[in-house]
Symmetry: C2
Subunit: 230 residues, 2 copies
């Protein structure tokens, strides 16, 4: 006989849902009823159900009760990777090389992304990340100098822009998108691949307290896969 904890209850209810004890969208017993059934306090059931709700398996509503989610869209959690760690995780030797580092007025698309005024300069930073000497990913980045002016004197021969920013402005929020693009001329030459090759791209914009810090496109070499369990 297992101990009755919010974890075991959560697992148990999950299994009952998977077995089909309650149909999609159907109401499951209330907290009070489940508490009696499992022989525990309502608080404990509440925690278990909240957990399932966080994962999107059930939907809860005051007075409405708890029901099995009728639109079971499973969520995948991805770790947005730091390239160095990716490379080293595969046992490769990591190195990076700054291809361009200039302050200049960015194109409109970048300007609006970073929320810059017309004519304001930003730092353009292009880096190639190498695994065992071979190009692994190409990073095209723009940095908002108003927010992180210290980046001008950052030692980019030691750490990559990515890592420097993670250290300096950690826990920033933002958005990511994944897509596929055909390699352009610059990217192809940096990654030593053919123009037009299908590349996996992570597009990421980072902001801190309402201010946009940096926006970046990361082009992975051909064949790269981003993997996750769900």
């Amino acid at each position: 006989m297992n101990k009755v904890t919010h974890q075991t209850i959560r697992q148990s209810i999950l299994e009952r849902i998977q077995k089909g004890e309650w149909a999609l969208g159907e109401l499951i017993p209330g907290e009070a009823a489940l508490a009696e059934e499992y022989g525990c306090a309502r608080t404990t059931i509440n925690r278990a159900l909240q957990g399932l709700a966080d994962e999107g398996l059930v939907v809860r509503k005051r007075k409405g009760g708890t029901r099995v989610c009728n639109m079971p869209v499973r969520q995948a959690r991805f770790d947005i990777p730091i390239v160095r760690e990716q490379v080293e995780a595969f046992g490769g030797h990591y190195r990076h090389q700054v291809l361009r580092k200039v302050e200049k007025v960015p194109p409109l698309s970048i300007r609006t992304r970073l929320g810059l005024e017309k004519g304001a300069k930003a730092l353009q930073l292009d880096t190639v990340h190498l695994a065992d000497g071979r190009p692994f990913a190409y990073e095209a980045r723009w940095v908002n100098l108003k927010v992180v002016p210290q980046i001008r004197s950052a030692p980019f021969d030691e750490v990559s822009a990515n890592e420097w920013l993670v250290q300096t402005v950690p826990f920033s929020s933002g958005d990511v998108s994944f897509s596929a693009v055909a390699a352009g001329k610059d990217v192809a030459s940096a990654l030593e691949c053919k123009e037009g090759d299908a590349l996996f791209v992570i597009d990421r914009t980072t902001s801190l307290a309402g201010e946009f810090v940096t926006t970046m496109k990361l082009f992975y070499r051909e064949g790269y896969q981003l993997y996750s369990r769900l």
Copy 2:
């Protein structure tokens, strides 16, 4: 003055972390101390910190205390989409078309993925998803007939294989991976794009109670982006 709830406390602590009040990897005050500071019960602080721990912002250890995560790898949560809903979310008219539906012995790569015996047949199902009549995504799927034999008689003129499976074996687990590939001949003709175009691909394998149910590759038409806030 805001009410003191686990939510407001959580937000407050998050901001203090972002402001850099505690360095990366540094110990933050214990629950008891914070409870006194915020003037609430320890239970409430516990909930706030647990929440931050779930999001990967802090690491907690018994006796060791709570410390700011020193490896701030932000996680992105993605909803693994159902194509119909994606199309309809953009206001498009959804329709799908089954291009192939045959039972046959799958190639080795699929066989191992589904955990089938040598010579066992599986259902091959190729579908094209259309938005306003235009190809939106191409789905190449294999289904394990041992686990879901009922699929033979599923009404695929009404619902897509994806939806049928979601309805029939909901809340299954599995894995996903994202990548970019160049469109092959079949895919190109189904999506009405050029061969070699860079396509975004979701590769998904689903299992239920240790048995593999189905594996699928979903090729999106050019330009598709998968987006998420973090």
